[in-house]
Symmetry: C2
Subunit: 315 residues, 2 copies
Amino acid sequence: MSSFPPNVVIREVGLRDGLQSIQTILPTERKIEWIADAYAAGQREIEVGSYVPAKLLPQLADTAELVAYAKTLPGLLVSVLVPNLKGAERAIESQADLMLVPLSASHAHSLANLRKTPDEVIAEVARIRAARDAAGSKTLIEGGIGTAFGCTIQGAVDQTEVLRCMQGLLDAGADRVSIADTVGYGGPAAVRELFGKARAIAGDKFWCGHFHDTRGLALANVYAALETGVARFDATLAGIGGCPHAPGASGNASSEDLAFMLADMGISTGIDIPRLLLLREKVAQWLSSETLHGALWLSGLPKTFAHSSTATLNA
Amino acid sequence: MSSFPPNVVIREVGLRDGLQSIQTILPTERKIEWIADAYAAGQREIEVGSYVPAKLLPQLADTAELVAYAKTLPGLLVSVLVPNLKGAERAIESQADLMLVPLSASHAHSLANLRKTPDEVIAEVARIRAARDAAGSKTLIEGGIGTAFGCTIQGAVDQTEVLRCMQGLLDAGADRVSIADTVGYGGPAAVRELFGKARAIAGDKFWCGHFHDTRGLALANVYAALETGVARFDATLAGIGGCPHAPGASGNASSEDLAFMLADMGISTGIDIPRLLLLREKVAQWLSSETLHGALWLSGLPKTFAHSSTATLNA
C-alpha cells in the first residue's frame, strides 16, 4: 500500500474562498487577528485575499493591507488570488509570496466566471510570468485548475482536458499547478486517478489539492490525494465557503477537521489543534449569522489524542 | 495502488444504532414504512433492532415485530443485535438471518456497557453458537468488536487486543467478525492498518466496518477500509446516532452520503439514491426534533451523476 507524506501543509483559504462566499463582511482588524492567531496556531501558508475589483468582491477589498500585515510574520507564505495580469501586478507590487491564477477546466464555467476560455487564461499566465520576471519579482505563480471534476453549468469535464490545461499552465511559466474540485463533484477514486496522473506530469510542481465538502467527501478526497504523494491542501476554518448553486450546503474542507485527520495519521502539519479550535470559536462569533461546518469543534479531540503531535514544523 | 471491491453492501443500522441513541420513539408502523422504503430503494441488509430488555431501550421494544415484517421481504438479510444468550434465543426463535453480538475491545468500556469482560463475551458467543446449533437454526452469528480505536473511558485500545478478541470470537464459533469505531476515534491510516491485519486473520469472515462520523472521518475511513478489500459497511440514514459522550456531535456514517461516494467510485451498492433521499425526507419529518446529519440531502446529486449506476444488485 502507498505510504503517506511525512509532512503536509494546510493552506488556510478561509480569508479568501471562505469570506468571498458569505454575506458577512469581516472588518480588516478582525482579519488581521485571524491571520495572527492562525500563525500562532502554527499555520504557515495563508491565502489572505484576492486582487479583484472591490466592487465585485467588497468582502476582499482590504487584500493589500492584509498582505502587508501578513508579510511581517516570519516564515509565513502569503498567497493571494489574482484573476488576471492587472491583479498580478498588484500582487507583485505588494510582494505577495505566491499568486494563484484560477483556470476553469470547464469551458462553460470558465466563460461564465472568468469571461475567458481556458486557453485565454493560459495566455494570461504567460503575460503574468513575463511581467513577474521583468519586475525581478520573487512572487510565485500558481495555476489553479478548478471545476476539475465537473461543474454545475457544463456537467462533465474530461480528465484529458484538465491535464491539457495543466501542461499549458506549466508551459506558460506557472511555477506551481493545483487542482480544485470547485463544486464538490469529485469522489476519492476519481481523485486518486486524476491526482496520480497530474503528479506524473507535473512532479513536484504539483502543489495543492482543493476540495469542497459539498457532498461530504472532502476528507476522503484528501486521503486519496495523500496516497498519490500530494502534501498540500487548501482548507477553511469552520469549513466556511460553499457553493452558490447549493445554498446551505457544506463549504470547503474544514481546516480543523483536516488537521485532526492528518495528526491522527501521524502526519506533521505544525498546527496546534487546540489553539486552532480556540480561533474557530472566535471566528464563529464574528460570523454568527453564517452557517459553519466541521465536526471536531463539537466532539472535541479524542482522549487518546497525543498533544505532542502539535509539532513545530516550519516554526 | 489497491483496487476496490466491485460490489459493496451498505447495511442500514439506523433502526438500531440510530434510534437507540435518540430521544424520539418511532412507532412500529413508521419503522415498518422505513424498512419497506429502504427495501424499495434497494437496501438488502437491515439491522432492525436489538433483543434487549424493553426497559433498557424502549425505543427498540418492537424488535420482534420488525423481524417478522422484514422476513416477508424476499432477499432481505434481517439482522438484530443481541447482547447475550437470552437475546440470541429470541433471535433464533424469530428466525433473524443474523445476530450481532457486541464485544468492546476496551476492557473498561466492556465492563461499563456490557457488564462483562471481553473474554466473558467470547465465552457467551460460544454458548450462543452451541444454542444456535442445538436449535438447528440458520441464524448467522456476527461478533462485532467495538471501541476498536479507543474509547472515552479507557482511552487507548491496543490493536493486538482487538485482534486477540477477533481470534477469540472466531474460535468461539462466530460465523462473521466486524470492527466498529464506536466513538469516532479512528482515522484512515489506523483503519487501513487494523482492517488489513483483521482481513489477514479472518479472511472472508471479516464482514463489516462500522464508523461514526464524530470527527468527520467516517467516509475517509470507509475509503481506507475499501482499500483492504472490506465490502460491507454499517451506516444510518441521515447519519442518525451519535455518542452520549459528545452531545450534538455527528452520528454514524450517513447511508445516503456513503451510497453516493460508492456510486461515484463505480462501486455497485444496488441502492437507488434518489429514492433513498426521498426516504430521508420522510424520516427527517418523523424525527423533526432530532439533529440529523449528512451532506448530500442539501446539495443534491451532481449534474454528472449517472442514474444508471442505481443498478439492481441483489434485486
